[in-house]
């Protein structure tokens, strides 16, 4: 049996080092997310592992290279590769980012920020229309983590995302760590952001760890590093979100300094527990 959509359970970002652990002892993980670009080779271990995992788990395909916010046209070759992957895998979900990463065909390997203007809105919506049409499915769009803002933005980020969802029919992926990182870096309240967010459009939630740095003027600067456990205030934000959204698939992201399976499984357990009941106040 394969699921058409992600279950409202805990998932983890799949790392090849956990392959055997996941097949032998997956609890409490109910689904897995992969980065699309890592599974676009012709064969070998990555595809063999993915085929094996897809027999057991609903899979979410998370793209990191489509550059949906790019000023230029979407890379037709990359879009074709995505379509190929989604066709044979038929995953439970596909998501990408509100960001850009390619310019003049040079790939910068980072999720770069966008000014929230009417012009950006029109461009992003055109690109999402093209993606959804080409892939023949609804996609989810993820909110970014921000280190700076654009003086010429005229939309708030939650309103901008809500309007994209309204115009294109896409769903949203709400990363609560990104919200916390951006809120700290740009001085807004993360709960206020969640309250303004189109929670009814949220098809998936991400949670992950960040690093703490310091910017100019002694201002804290949080870095979205995915290299440790999620911070307690981010778990609180997840509770706040789930109280408003109802049950949703919650993914634990851990991409750098990837720990052994028991550590990641414990983090997934925490996400799973959050779906059952709010944690007792610390």
């Amino acid at each position: 049996m394969t699921f058409d959509t992600l279950p409202a359970a805990a998932g983890v970002g799949y790392k090849p080092k956990h392959f055997n652990d996941i097949l032998e002892n997956p609890a409490p993980v109910g689904w897995l997310e992969i980065h699309a670009e890592n599974y676009m080779g012709d064969g070998g271990r990555p595809l063999a592992q993915l085929r094996a995992l897809a027999e057991r788990f609903p899979i979410s395909v998370h793209g990191v290279g489509l550059s949906i916010g790019g000023e230029g046209r979407l890379d037709p070759e990359h879009l074709a590769r995505l379509r190929h992957l989604l066709r044979w895998l038929n995953p439970a979900s596909f998501s990408e980012h509100l960001a850009w990463s390619t310019h003049d065909s040079a790939f910068l390997n980072d999720l770069l920020p966008l000014p929230y203007t009417d012009a950006t809105l029109a461009r992003v919506c055109d690109h999402i229309d093209e993606v959804q049409e080409t892939l023949g499915r609804r996609m989810l769009l993820e909110n970014p983590s921000s280190y700076l803002a654009f003086a010429d933005s005229t939309w708030s980020e939650p309103d901008f995302l809500r309007e994209i969802a309204r115009r294109t029919g896409c769903g949203l992926l709400l990363d609560v760590n990104n919200v916390f990182v951006s809120a700290t870096n740009l001085d807004f309240t993360p709960q206020g952001y969640i309250d303004a967010f189109a929670l009814e459009e949220v098809g998936e939630i991400h949670i992950g760890g960040h690093d703490e740095d310091e910017g100019d003027h002694g201002h804290p600067l949080l870095i979205d590093s995915h290299g440790r456990e999620a911070a307690d205030p981010v778990w609180d934000l997840l509770d706040h979100t789930l109280a408003g959204s109802g049950p949703r698939p919650v993914l634990v992201e851990w991409d750098t300094d990837v720990p052994d399976w028991p550590v990641l499984a414990a983090e997934a357990r925490r996400a799973s527990d959050a779906l059952l009941q709010p944690r007792a106040a610390a």
Partner: protein
């Protein structure tokens, strides 16, 4: 409004000022915050290159590799989000670096790293049973053509390439000999394997890969060439995936 062209320019050249319309939460100039993006781009691409060229990185050392990588990615940024395909120009780029004149084998080491990566992601193909080939009589054998697995990569080198790799990656304490060594990369299951090719085996395997009949491939390798060791190597590694007899 700042264009993505201008943003990218400032992003990849730390000597450029931070674009003026980028601000912090209070509307002040973004300052060091822009460096987070600069750092993400430079470090993530440098690390991707290091991951893709482990033997080169081992021979250069991490700090030197990072400096070489920084220059490479300015000249040859990835042309697609598929980082597994990035770095095809790296061997030729290394050849052009005067600073590396004392390590003339490094471009070939880079070619071998690239071959390992290509083999890792190559399409799957089931090997033939060696008995199928052995069952042919001499005449049929001469006329037969074989298909090599998509993972098979051949590199001719003036250097003891297989030994340099093993030594660089800490797989053996044996220091490399001084002879030339052609290599073949195969992928018996999922993990690519480097093997030194027998004498003239490179030309022979190239001819097979090009679809030449076995007899003609042997002949073009010159008088006295014995194909048996190369065939045994390819068969043993599951690198022959088709037989047209």
């Amino acid at each position: 409004m700042i264009s993505q062209s201008a943003f990218r320019h400032a992003l990849t050249d730390a000597g450029q000022p931070v674009p003026e319309t980028l601000v912090d939460g209070a509307g002040r100039p973004a300052g060091r915050r822009f460096s987070v993006y600069r750092n993400n781009v430079a470090v993530s691409l440098s690390e991707a290159l290091e991951t893709g060229f482990p033997a080169v990185a081992a021979l250069l050392g991490a700090a030197n590799f990072a400096r070489v990588a920084a220059r490479f990615l300015r000249q040859h940024p990835p042309g697609s989000p598929l980082l597994m395909t990035w770095g095809g120009q790296f061997p030729a780029f290394l050849e052009g670096l005067d600073e590396l004149d004392t390590m003339p084998w490094l471009p070939d080491v880079a070619r071998s790293d690239l071959a390992m990566r290509r083999a890792y992601h190559a399409a799957d193909a089931a090997p033939i049973e060696p008995a199928e080939l052995l069952a042919l009589d001499e005449e049929a054998l001469e006329r037969a053509r074989v298909t090599l697995a998509p993972a098979v990569q051949l590199i001719a080198s003036r250097w003891p390439l297989a030994e340099i790799r093993s030594y660089a990656l800490g797989e053996t304490p044996e220091r490399p000999s001084s002879g030339a060594q052609d290599i073949v990369v195969t992928r018996p299951e999922f993990d690519p394997v480097v093997s030194a090719l027998p004498e003239r085996g490179h030309a022979f395997a190239l001819a097979l890969k090009a679809g030449m009949p076995l007899g003609a491939a042997v002949t073009q390798c010159g008088a006295g060439f014995d194909p048996a060791p190369t065939l045994a190597l390819l068969l043993g590694q599951g690198a022959i995936t088709g037989l047209i007899s």
